[in-house]
Symmetry: C2
């Protein structure tokens, strides 16, 4: 009988392939597969839409290890029907995203973004610089998962007071207080900074909309590094145009790349970054820590030990 | 007899004037003085060159409380001759400058500066983004005073290893190791980030020159927020042009504002900020904490309790 296949939809260094073989000697490891081999794939590392049909038509697939944290673009209903295990890459990008957020805030508060623009025109322009202090600000993390917790640890040490929002308001270490997502509109009114780090689900779709923006402080900052469609883009444009709050920084968008005619581009009070917050040096090491631990658990107990996604809730 | 004068060369809020009167009831407080009154000024808060002659010609002046940390533009030799006490504003700007430096580093490492430039052209440009991780980097603080110590505390909590340089290499809390300034050229070769926070003295003039730049790592970053003339600008331009190291960020310059024809403006691997790192919200509160403490000590013991400058060494 043919050995079942571990299909790597992305190339990894030889050292990691060796470790996979050592943990799972009864499997073949492939980075390319023929149509016939598709039927023998039991474990897929990464996912792309073109494999929906070949990998899901034979009931052979047992486990998908996603590379990213977000898994909302995967065929979750079909995974559920076929009892396919799913784990994600949550945590890998936490440090990068946390550094991105702190950089965005200081770029705004310390006038660095404006300095970059002035420099392009060889303009000294000290009087064009808006400045403020990060320390002492109240920051609301909407989504208290791996990334939110990393951000909380880092930015708290810079003197920021960190509050959290999650589904039920359950307490999470490192947050001064946590609230239920139901109370979002109420809580934002006391915050200097609101950071969206939400997964894409039915419940989070367009959750950042005019109801929220209108309640924010006039000098508040909104950052989104979660899913693009958690933001109601049109209502955000209105809010920024009317200066309901002071400044937004988006790294994710409802449509990516952001179309060149989107009005967001030319608003004066926004920073647009091209989905870079998660770019991570030493990605393979960080990812393999998760995958190899899961692989060990899978071959010995047929279960996963890290980052399993609950298919019913979608994260 | 006329009461001696406390001359405020800058306006402060009424609440602080009241506190000055309460601590020093035998003094007049003035923010403008006539030529005749100049002879009665015993304490000057702030200094500007035009008062060199009127305030120093009568031997009445006893104490100058500088507003900034840097005092190299003041007539130190004359102060010394007349035994005039001098205290500076060191510490007021420490938090602002620390936030500035962290913002500059993350703006570079997380590709935010490039994103600002791309946004100006409505360009998504994810493939133009250089990214790296701040955590894990080795940072050398050249000048372990108030600002260096604040930076060390903040950035260490972001996972950065912090080393220090001071005159003698004496240990300072919060630094993994400290070295004598004599060893600067040797130490920079192991550092990812070199931050200059030096006062302007004869010893520090052009201390950051080609000898140093040539020894830096190819991917290293150099930041100067100390005095502009601690950097040999021409040699820095050569080093950046030849990519001796990767990136520089300057907030201070040998000539300010930086002349529009200075070649620094158009180098691709530099961030120029217009002497903004010390801009501080709530400045009056922070400054008055120093001045009022000193005033109390001065009127009771004729000495200063905070931030006294040693005129022989110039900081």
């Amino acid at each position: 009988m043919t050995k079942p296949i571990i299909f790597l939809q992305r190339a990894f260094r030889e050292e990691f392939i060796d470790k996979i073989h050592a943990i799972a000697p009864d499997y073949q490891v492939k980075t390319e597969i023929t149509p016939e081999e598709a039927a023998a794939v039991e474990i897929s590392v990464g996912w792309s839409e073109k494999f929906n049909e070949p990998l899901l038509s034979t009931n052979q697939l047992k486990w998908v290890q996603s590379i990213s944290a977000g898994i909302d673009s995967l065929p979750l209903a079909e995974f559920s029907t076929q009892n396919i295990l799913l784990s994600n890459g949550s945590g890998i990008h936490a440090l990068s995203i946390s550094e991105h957020i702190i950089g965005v805030l200081l770029g705004y508060y310390r006038g660095l973004n404006q300095s970059v623009k002035n420099q392009e025109q060889q303009l000294w322009g000290q009087n064009t610089i808006h400045y403020d202090q990060l320390a002492g600000k109240n920051l609301l993390v909407v989504g208290t998962g791996h990334i939110g917790q990393q951000l909380s640890r880092s930015i708290h040490s810079l003197g920021v007071n960190v509050y959290g929002i999650n589904t039920t308001g359950h307490p999470v270490e490192g947050f001064t207080e946590t609230y239920s997502i139901k109370n979002l509109a109420k809580i934002v009114s006391g915050m200097d900074i609101v950071v969206g780090i939400l997964p894409g689900t039915q419940e989070t779709y367009h959750i950042f909309n005019s109801d929220i923006f209108e309640k924010m402080k006039q000098d508040a900052v909104f950052i989104n590094v979660g899913r693009g469609d958690t933001v109601h883009t049109k209502e955000l444009i209105t809010a920024l145009t009317e200066k309901s709050f002071a400044f937004a920084a988006l790294d994710v968008f409802e449509e990516e790349p952001l179309p060149s005619d989107n009005p967001l581009w030319t608003l004066p009070n926004i920073l647009i970054t091209p989905h870079i917050s998660g770019l991570t040096v030493d990605f393979q090491n960080k990812f393999m820590q998760i995958f190899l631990a899961n692989l060990k658990a899978y071959v010995t107990t047929n279960a996963l030990s890290r980052n399993q996604v609950r298919l019913d809730r979608g994260y």
